[in-house]
């Protein structure tokens, strides 16, 4: 598909989004800002209608913060987020705001803290309906909840239970049902399976894929597990220290890997083939602190390709290796 035909299908666009958290020092009177944690530092992303975009990176690289900025749980420091071409931080009316909230939902990471322990499953799932359709009759609301329970693979009688009576996987199903209750277009899934057992992970991933077809959903799938990302994503964005370092279709990123960071991540995926010679690239050191971001290319202190000169001085631009495959590196692979 060409870029032109994609234009009309753009659902969400992030333009140079930054989220800096101030580090404050408590003074005698008040406090003063001494530094910034640059959790998200200049992210550009485009999400097309109906696709699944995988957002992958190490812990602390800002992928969760990116997800939170998209659903308006955090306000970005600078930058724009356009939903259907409209800046989501500049809505004029309450209706626009509510329309956005209806259409962009989130699935949370921790199935144990994402459900209110004092509410019945019925009310947890029905809350979106209570908020957005207050005039709906109790009977229809309950019918809708039963329908959602059925769609996520739970039983009707589960509606009258409290969250603590469910297992992690079942809780995650309830969380999914809650986010789907308002019929969203875009769902940001923040590590939806990383807290679950591997066997349950597969069930939830398959459920999410089924629901994507049924509800015509667009997913932004945040995860640190490359095999999960490979399984679910149409396109993949690899994040490192607050920026996107590689961005392309699933195939491009996983087989024609361009960025040295992605290459080293790939080499860490275990492969069930004893004869295969593994070349593991072990990155030296820890990811640098997002308070003091390295100069030039952010990845240069840990990169095996760093030339020690250009990489230290110049921040590499996004290079388009091929149609839709972008890499932020001076010396990409290939």
């Amino acid at each position: 598909m060409t870029a032109e035909s994609h234009k009309s299908k753009i659902l969400l666009e992030l333009r140079d989004v930054r989220k800096w958290f101030p580090v404050k020092e408590q003074g005698f009177v008040g406090s003063r800002q001494v530094a910034n944690i640059k959790a998200v530092d200049g992210v550009n992303l485009v999400i097309y209608r109906g696709e699944t975009l995988g957002l992958v990176g190490e812990s602390g690289c800002g992928k969760t913060t990116t997800g939170k900025v998209i659903v308006k749980l955090e306000v970005p420091t600078t930058g724009q987020i356009l939903y259907n071409g409209q800046d989501i931080y500049a809505f004029h009316t309450k209706e626009d705001e509510m329309y956005f909230k209806r259409n962009v939902q989130m699935i949370f990471q921790d199935p144990y803290s994402s459900l209110n322990p004092r509410m019945l499953v019925m009310d947890i799932i029905g809350e979106g309906l209570d908020i957005h359709e207050p005039k709906m009759s109790k009977l229809r609301r309950d019918e809708k909840v039963y329908d959602l329970l059925d769609k996520v693979g739970l039983e009707r009688y589960h509606a009258m239970r409290y969250p603590h009576e469910f297992s992690g996987g079942q809780r995650q199903r309830i969380g999914i049902a809650r986010s789907l209750s308002v019929n969203p277009e875009l769902v940001v899934a923040d590590e939806p399976v990383s807290a679950l057992d591997v066997s349950v992970q597969a069930q939830i991933l398959n459920l999410m894929q089924d629901l994507q077809k049924q509800f015509n959903l667009t997913y932004i799938f945040v995860a640190h597990d490359l095999s999960v990302i490979k399984h679910v994503s149409d396109r993949v964005a690899v994040m490192y220290l607050g920026t996107i370092v590689e961005y392309g279709s699933n195939n491009q990123v996983f087989t024609e890997t361009g960025h040295p960071y992605t290459v080293s991540l790939m080499s860490a995926i275990p492969r069930p083939d004893p004869r295969r010679k593994m070349k593991r690239i072990v990155l030296p050191g820890e990811p640098p602190s997002p308070i003091n971001v390295p100069t030039g290319c952010r990845f240069h202190p840990r990169c095996y390709k760093s030339d020690g000169e250009k990489c230290i001085k110049e921040d590499p631009p996004m290079i388009e290796l091929e149609e839709g495959h972008l890499v932020k590196c001076h010396y990409p692979e290939m």
Partner: protein
């Protein structure tokens, strides 16, 4: 007749057996509070505490029925045969004796329980009300709101309570301000104790609200577009209720004690019967009639102890880490 049909041979199919689960009665599972009550009941000491409170409550409600005499009547049975008069020891006529003015002590204790409970419970309710509202505002809105409310809380925590209470009570009773003249003893005590007792609760509420606000179910509610009121009332407050209930229960004990203490020191209305006043009036007869002081004193002691035990037991029963 041995034509066994296919269906009989197989019995119920697996699918049919599995359906049993589907048709389980759609019953509400036990709520949090019913589990708490179940765990509370298992605590023997707590049941005794609860029993003591219940007895005092019944005594307070049925005071006109239980006591034979009006609590301020002087030697109500003076024309009857067998003892009486002032400073009478326990006798058949007066079950626990009379005080210096010859008033029936039993009636005074029974009527006095009304004031103790009324002041204790209402003052605690008042401070919980103020504390929870201010704490929820501070914890939910943060920033400047929190800063202002927390500094106010600091101020109220630094106030020397006894001094303020004494000043406030005597000021209110001095009759300088017209509309305050008609305030009864109980109203004065309740407002003083309630208005000066909320600071600790406000702090607790702020901290708890801030804790709950970081949980993902609150984020989920924000994502769904829930209003501030919905988030506070449906997601935050129900989840911080346990510590609030515990602290309020412990506060009741504290307030009963404070009321008795202030009355003992001579503040409040001499016309009003309360346990603190009975102790106060009995002190002069401590050597000859020690029962005057001790019965009322132990009444206060056991009631406060009961509230503390119940508060503690509630704390244990509501601990989420203890699962049955």
């Amino acid at each position: 007749m041995a034509t066994v049909t296919d269906k009989d041979a197989k019995g119920p199919s697996t699918a049919e057996l599995l359906r049993v689960g589907d048709e389980a009665p759609v019953e509400k599972s036990p709520s949090h509070w019913s589990t708490v009550w179940k765990r509370f009941q298992r605590n023997k000491l707590a049941i005794y505490g609860f029993f003591v409170i219940l007895v005092v409550v019944i005594m307070a409600i049925l005071a006109p029925v239980i006591s034979q005499h009006y609590p301020t009547a002087l030697d109500p049975l003076f024309d009857k045969y067998g003892g009486g008069g002032a400073d009478e020891h326990p006798s058949l006529k007066y079950p626990i004796g009379t005080d210096t003015l010859g008033r029936d002590l039993f009636s005074r204790i029974v009527w006095g329980s009304q004031i103790s409970l009324l002041v204790g419970i209402t003052a605690s309710a008042l401070s919980t009300f103020i504390g929870v509202i201010l704490g929820a505002l501070a914890g939910y809105y943060r920033g400047m709101t929190e800063e202002i409310i927390m500094r106010l809380t600091d101020m109220f925590l630094a106030v020397p309570f006894l001094l303020i209470a004494i000043v406030a009570v005597s000021f209110l009773r001095s009759g300088r301000i017209e509309f305050l003249q008609n305030m009864t003893h109980a109203t004065i005590m309740i407002s003083v104790l309630g208005l000066f007792g909320w600071a600790g609760l406000a702090r607790l509420t702020t901290a708890e609200v801030k804790r709950v606000m970081t949980l993902e179910y609150v984020s989920a509610a924000i994502c769904l577009g829930a209003s501030d009121w919905r988030i506070i009332s449906k997601h935050v407050l129900p989840n911080i209720l346990s510590p609030l209930v515990v602290v309020t229960t412990l506060n009741i004990g504290g307030n009963i004690l404070a009321e008795a203490g202030l009355t003992f020191l001579g503040f409040g209305d001499p016309q009003t019967v309360s346990w603190g006043r009975v102790v106060n009036e009995g002190v002069i007869n401590l050597i000859n009639n020690p029962e005057q002081v001790f019965i009322a004193g132990f009444g206060i002691f056991f009631l406060v102890l009961a509230f503390n035990i119940v508060g503690d037991a509630l704390n244990d029963a509501m601990n989420p880490r203890l699962k049955d």
